[in-house]
Symmetry: none
Subunit: 226 residues, 4 copies
DNA sequence: AATGAATGAGAGTTCATTCAT
DNA sequence: GATGAATGAACTCTCATTCAT
């Protein structure tokens, strides 16, 4: 829309419109800044929680890192707990997005599983704080934890159901697949704990042979002879 | 009961007893009381941590529950952290003992696995605080966590190696079994989180159909058709 | 109604109206709104102070109740204290007006006193916040308190001097009557505290027998036999 | 019971007693210090409340004046409010004691009243903070206020009932005297407010002519001619 | 004139640790 | 060895006031 044309046509109304437009233009930065500040607090909190845990993520520390005054915090969150509960869902979205991108184009169900598995570890390698944020959340931020857990499980479940419908995954009822989903999510985080965090040196990467072992386990089970 | 006969088999406490016997009689009750006090603090801490977590396990709370004075704490532990690190190994021993008893007499490797699996959940049903104690320990008491984790993994590994030596478990090298062990330990705790803690009502028990699903997964794997 | 005729008798508001009439039409609504806003703040503050006291009468609370933005407050008052000092005189006028109306038509000095006494308690029953507003003002809003106290005392004094001039009240010099006035004002508020606020149930009314006792005390004094 | 006789009879018990006595002697300084500290906090609080009011009597200020660390406060009081409620009864005892001493030896009921009246104002002259402490307590420390008010009223009432029994005060039933007591207490504090606090210069004393006016009022009432 | 986001000082309270007794 | 009073730093949260819009 050309603004010039309106000037001559309706000077008063146009003036008004222009004013509003200007005022909106002036107010938008405010709204934008508000979102920016809120996100700055979330980002700062996510980083701090990932580094030192929920307990030591004090408001002083968070606001300082976000470049805001102490009191400003309460313009964006009702309480410290309110923010802490929001941290995990905030970063959880990132992980989900990252995995979805890496999985797209997988050839079959097993490929989906492997790509998703590798993507998760790649994300963790880049965001080493996520693991701690997730783990401690169970008791330090139970609401956010439940939210993230549900989201992750639902996405995982949907993926498995698609594989099932395509006939690529047999032997389990839908109800049983719920159990399987939790088992697979569990495995990811314990393998991270054992082979990346504790034993992984500085690379932050899961050794290739562990990936292979995981895939073997997935494919063939334990092959007990009983 | 004669103490002499037990000397050769005696655990540390027995050795202590012997030592005590050689020292002055008057000091003996003191040494005993010291051990008693230390254990009282550990027991109190274990209970409190299980209920409210490491963060809220204050020294005041612990000493009060243990029936000791606040300041007495520092006669037995160097710091609050020192005690917190000791809590998980303290209670972890109990779990290990409980499982060992339940597993004894298993017919074969799969049976060992199932008995051990069921025993773990039975223990958790009776000691609902253990789960929290273990989970939060990873960051709140990392030394104790590592100790407990190593112990548990080693015991599990030893069991699997025995199965392997007996030819009851094939397809995985020893190195790979290390991965499997962590995967199985992971599964236990996520299934607890999902199907007992969150969904289990008051019983604190794992539903039978979940056990069956777990065993099926263990036996046959996921049966992907690729 | 013609406004011209009222000009000579008109209170300040009427004068304001006249002033407005002579100034530019476009600015009038602004001036009106300004007064409205200021009064809205005073009214809101009066209500809040009566309910929760001066301390908890925060600017946020007051502006919210007045339907104005937080920052707008400082267009009408220099500071929070500035407003608080204005609250008591604001509501004090109402009480004075109410009493004056009730007293009009009294037969004699004692009747004036009784009508005034009853009117005060009736007002307090309808405006239970006034008592707190007055009581706390002594230290929380000393300027407003002094203003209100002087006003009330002067009115009371003028009334007594009229009685004295009419020969209905003897035995006290003018100077002494100043003391008497304060004693009588004191009595009202302690009787409210004791027999209405603490003991009065939900009615908010002073029991009739207390009124009678007060009147007896006034008439005859304590009748000490010395 | 004589203790000597027991020494020979029960040496052990006696030894114990002696020990206890020693340990008590050692512990007494502790107990004494505790009382001292608590009183130091109360004294500091009383002084500060008298000077700047309850609102500004912060724990930091109080502990500093008492010469204790900030955190020490909570060894002696549950909360700031807990201390504030205790302040008025603490200083109220002093006033009551002071009045009782001054009143002793009064010749008759009116003399009691005058001595008590003068004593109250003398106390207030020496303790100018008491007035504020009492006045603000009604809303800032309502529990302590009620306690002090009840105590004062009961003492006053008991005194008037004695006068009544001696036949020195007639014309009021016991129930009515309750009203009278509150009226007289009220008068004291408003006269202080008007003729000492606001108008009294530095002396802090009630002018003699005000006392005389009060006594005249008390004796003869207002002598209305109706 | 009106807004409400931003500030930062200061409030009450907790608690690991020390130390005189 | 045992006690518990004492400490003071650190915490979360509130709010009068300012100021860019």
């Amino acid at each position: 829309m050309s603004r010039r044309k309106q000037i001559s046509l309706a000077p008063k109304a146009a003036a008004n419109t222009t004013l509003r437009a200007t005022s909106k233009r002036r107010k938008l930065p405010r709204a934008e800044k508000a979102i920016e500040n809120r996100n700055a607090l979330l980002r700062a909190a996510a980083q701090i929680v990932g580094e030192v845990g929920y307990q030591d993520a004090s408001i002083a520390r968070i606001t300082q890192k976000a470049g805001l005054a102490h009191g400003t915090f309460y313009l964006y969150f009702d309480s410290r707990q309110d923010l802490l509960e929001a941290v995990l869902p905030f970063v959880g979205e990132e992980l989900a997005l990252f995995i979805r991108q890496r999985v797209s184009g997988a050839k079959n169900a097993l490929d989906v599983e492997e790509k998703s598995f590798r993507a998760a570890f790649e994300y963790l390698a880049r965001n080493p704080g996520f693991y701690r944020t997730l783990n401690e959340a169970e008791f330090a931020a139970p609401v956010g934890f439940a939210k993230q857990f549900d989201n992750a499980a639902h996405r995982y479940m949907a993926s498995m159901l698609r594989s099932k419908e395509r006939g690529e995954l047999e032997g389990y009822t839908t109800k049983e697949l719920d159990v399987v989903v939790y088992m697979l999510m569990a495995i990811r985080f314990y393998l991270y704990l054992r082979f990346v965090k504790d034993d992984g040196g500085d690379s932050g990467r899961l050794p290739e042979w562990v990936v292979k072992t995981y895939m073997k386990f997935l494919r063939g089970g334990l092959n007990y002879k009983n």
